[in-house]
Amino acid sequence: MSIKLYDIAHSRAGDKGNTLILSLIPYEEKDYELLRDVVTADKVKEHFKGIIHGEILRYELPNISALQFVCQQALAGGVTTSLVMDAHGKTLSYALLEMCIELPAG
C-alpha cells in the first residue's frame, strides 16, 4: 500500500542562507524506524529535483524520533536577494510531505 508522508508525519522548514532545513517527525513514535528506513537522503533529492541543487545530509535523532534533512543550494541564492515568492522556502515542508512511500507488506 502506498501512502503520503503527510498521512503519518509532520514537518517544519527553516533556512540559513541558501540552505534549506526540513524536519520530518512521525505522529506516532513507532513510525520513526519506517521513516528512517524509507526516506533516505537520495529519495529526498529525487523528490526535490529542480528545487534542491546541492547535497542533502540526513541526521537521525532517535532521542526525539525525528529526522532532519539539511539541503544545500536549495533556495535560489538565499532569502535576502532571491526573486522567488517564498524566498525562505517555508512552504517546502509541505512539498516533502507530498512524497509517496510504500508500506511494507503485513
Partner: protein, 444 residues
C-alpha cells in the same frame, strides 16, 4: 546574592512584527522573573542601520515605543526584568527612548544598553563571505556589519541591576542563557550546562512557534483559539532542566509535536548547534509531555564555544520590481502563460534576472508535484532585479499595460518596487568586538 532554585523566563515576541499582547499577558499572569522579546531578524539590523544613517536618534526597532508603553507598568509592578534585542542598530538611542517613555508614564527605571556588536570599522571588504567564498566587497556596498555577541556581553548589563537590558545583535539563545548564568551562577566554561540553557533558549526564541503557531493544520494538527495564541514561558532549574508552559486560558497548545518542530527549526547540524556561548548537541535531549500544555526538557550536552563569532554583513543589492495580474475561468492558465510569454519577450533584454511565476500553480513548488490540475484562477507574477528604482518600476508598468495589450480577462494588477539589502556572513576572532554597557536612569 542568594541563588534562586528556579527561574521563570517568558518569551513575548519571536520576531520584529510579532503580536503585542502575548507579552503583556505573560507579564501579567506568567509569574515571570524575566521577559525576553526577540525582535531582530538577519536583515532587520541592516535596515535599522539605514534609518540611523539618516537620523542618529533612530535605528532601533520600529515597534519599541508601543511595546514598552504597554509593558512598562506591568514589568515594574511585578518586578520582571526585560531583556530584548530591540536596540537593533542603536541600543543607546533605544535606551534614551525608553527613559523618555518612563518619564511620561512617571515610572522610575534603569536601562542598560549593550553595545559593541557593530564592527563596521573592522571591515575592509576583503573578508571572504561564508556563502560565496568571494570577498564581501564583490557583493555590493557594505552598509552594516554586526557580530553575534553572546551571553558574556549581556552579563555585565544584568550585573548593573538594570530593569531593562537592551541589546543590538546577540545570538537569540544568549538572551536566555545570560539570565540563567546570572541567577544560577553557572560557569560560562561549563559547556554541558550552557548547552542545556541554549537548548531552552532555542525552544523559546520563536515565541508562538512552540505554542501551536506555525504548526496548525486543521484535522491533522488542530490548535484551538489561535486568535489569542499564548506565548511560552520556561521554568528553568539549576541543573539546566526546564518545563515549557504557557499561561492558562490563552489559545494554542504545547505538545511533543510542537516542541520537536521547534527544537529542529533552522538547525543545520543537530550534533553541533553553534552559538557564541557553546556548541550544543541536540541529539542528547529528551522531551516529555508533563501535563496539558507542559513539556519537560532534560538532557542536552555541549562542547567548547567557538573561537570565532559570526558577523552578519548587510550590503546594497539594488532594487526589485514586481507586477501581478490575475486570470480566472476557462483557459485561465493558458491565458496567464500567454501573458507571461509576452512579458518575457518584452523584458528579457533589459533584465538579466527575470522571473515569471504562476501563483496558484507553480509559484512556490516549481516541480511536477501534483501540477496536473487545472486551476480555476491563476495570478501571473513577474519580478526582476534592477540597479535603480526607475528601472525596477518598468516591470510593474509592463504588467499593467497588459490590461489593454494582453490576453482577455486579466484583472487586479498590483505593482511594487523595493530596495534590496543583501546579507552575507563572515567569521571574526571573538576578541575583536569589544562589548560594553551604557546605563541610563530615570528617578520619578
Amino acid at each position: 546574592m542568594t541563588k534562586k532554585n528556579k527561574v521563570r523566563i517568558g518569551c513575548g515576541a519571536g520576531f520584529s512584527g510579532d503580536r503585542l499582547e502575548p507579552a503583556v499577558n505573560l507579564a501579567e499572569k506568567g509569574d515571570l522573573d524575566y521577559l525576553v522579546l526577540e525582535c531582530l531578524a538577519e536583515r532587520t539590523i541592516a535596515l535599522a542601520q539605514k534609518r540611523k544613517t539618516t537620523d542618529p536618534s533612530q535605528g532601533y526597532d520600529p515597534l519599541l515605543e508601543r511595546r514598552i508603553e504597554l509593558l512598562l507598568p506591568m514589568l515594574k509592578q511585578k518586578k520582571i526584568r526585560l531583556i530584548t534585542n530591540m536596540g537593533a542598530a542603536n541600543p543607546v538611542a533605544a535606551a534614551d527612548k525608553i527613559i523618555g517613555i518612563a518619564r511620561r508614564l512617571g515610572i522610575s527605571i534603569k536601562v542598560a544598553a549593550v553595545i559593541g556588536d557593530d564592527v563596521l570599522e573592522h571591515i575592509c571588504g576583503d573578508e571572504l563571505a561564508m556563502e560565496t567564498g568571494n570577498p564581501i566587497s564583490w557583493s555590493g556596498q557594505t552598509v552594516s556589519a554586526n557580530a553575534y555577541l553572546g551571553a558574556d556581553a549581556i552579563l555585565p548589563a544584568l550585573e548593573t541591576g538594570a530593569d531593562i537590558i537592551i541589546t543590538g545583535r546577540v545570538a537569540d539563545p544568549s538572551l536566555f542563557v545570560a539570565p540563567l548564568v546570572h541567577e544560577f551562577g553557572w560557569s560560562l566554561d561549563d559547556a554541558d550546562i550552557i548547552a542545556k540553557g541554549t537548548m531552552v533558549g532555542h525552544l523559546m526564541e520563536c515565541a508562538g512557534q512552540i505554542t501551536g503557531g506555525y504548526f496548525a493544520d486543521p484535522v491533522k494538527k488542530p490548535v484551538e483559539n489561535m486568535s489569542t495564541l499564548g506565548h511560552p514561558f520556561a521554568e528553568v532549574y539549576p541543573d539546566g532542566s526546564a518545563i515549557i508552559g504557557k499561561v492558562d486560558g490563552t489559545g494554542g497548545t504545547i505538545t511533543l509535536a510542537t516542541a520537536k518542530e521547534q527544537l529542529l527549526y533552522e538547525v543545520t547540524n543537530p550534533y553541533q548547534y553553534m552559538t557564541p556561548d557553546v556548541s550544543a548537541d541536540f541529539t542528547t535531549v529528551f522531551l516529555k509531555q508533563d501535563g496539558k500544555d507542559r513539556i519537560k526538557v532534560t538532557g542536552g550536552s555541549g562542547s567548547k564555544k567557538p573561537s570565532t563569532l559570526k558577523v552578519s554583513i548587510g550590503y546594497k543589492a539594488g532594487f526589485t520590481g514586481e507586477g501581478e495580474i490575475t486570470f480566472a475561468g476557462a483557459n485561465a492558465l493558458e491565458r496567464a502563460r500567454l501573458a507571461g510569454e509576452i512579458m518575457q519577450e518584452r523584458l528579457y533584454t533589459q533584465f538579466t534576472e527575470l522571473r515569471v511565476d504562476y501563483i496558484g500553480h507553480t509559484s512556490v513548488h516549481p516541480t511536477s508535484l501534483a501540477h496536473d490540475h487545472k486551476p480555476y484562477e491563476v495570478r501571473l507574477r513577474v519580478a526582476g532585479k534592477a540597479a535603480t528604482t526607475d528601472e525596477a518600476a518598468i516591470i510593474g508598468q509592463e504588467v499593467e499595460a497588459l490590461y489593454t495589450n494582453g490576453p482577455a480577462g486579466g484583472g487586479g494588477v498590483r505593482k511594487y518596487v523595493n530596495e534590496v539589502i543583501g546579507i552575507v556572513s563572515i567569521l571574526m576572532d571573538r576578541n575583536t568586538p569589544k562589548s560594553s554597557v551604557i546605563v541610563k536612569e530615570y528617578e520619578h
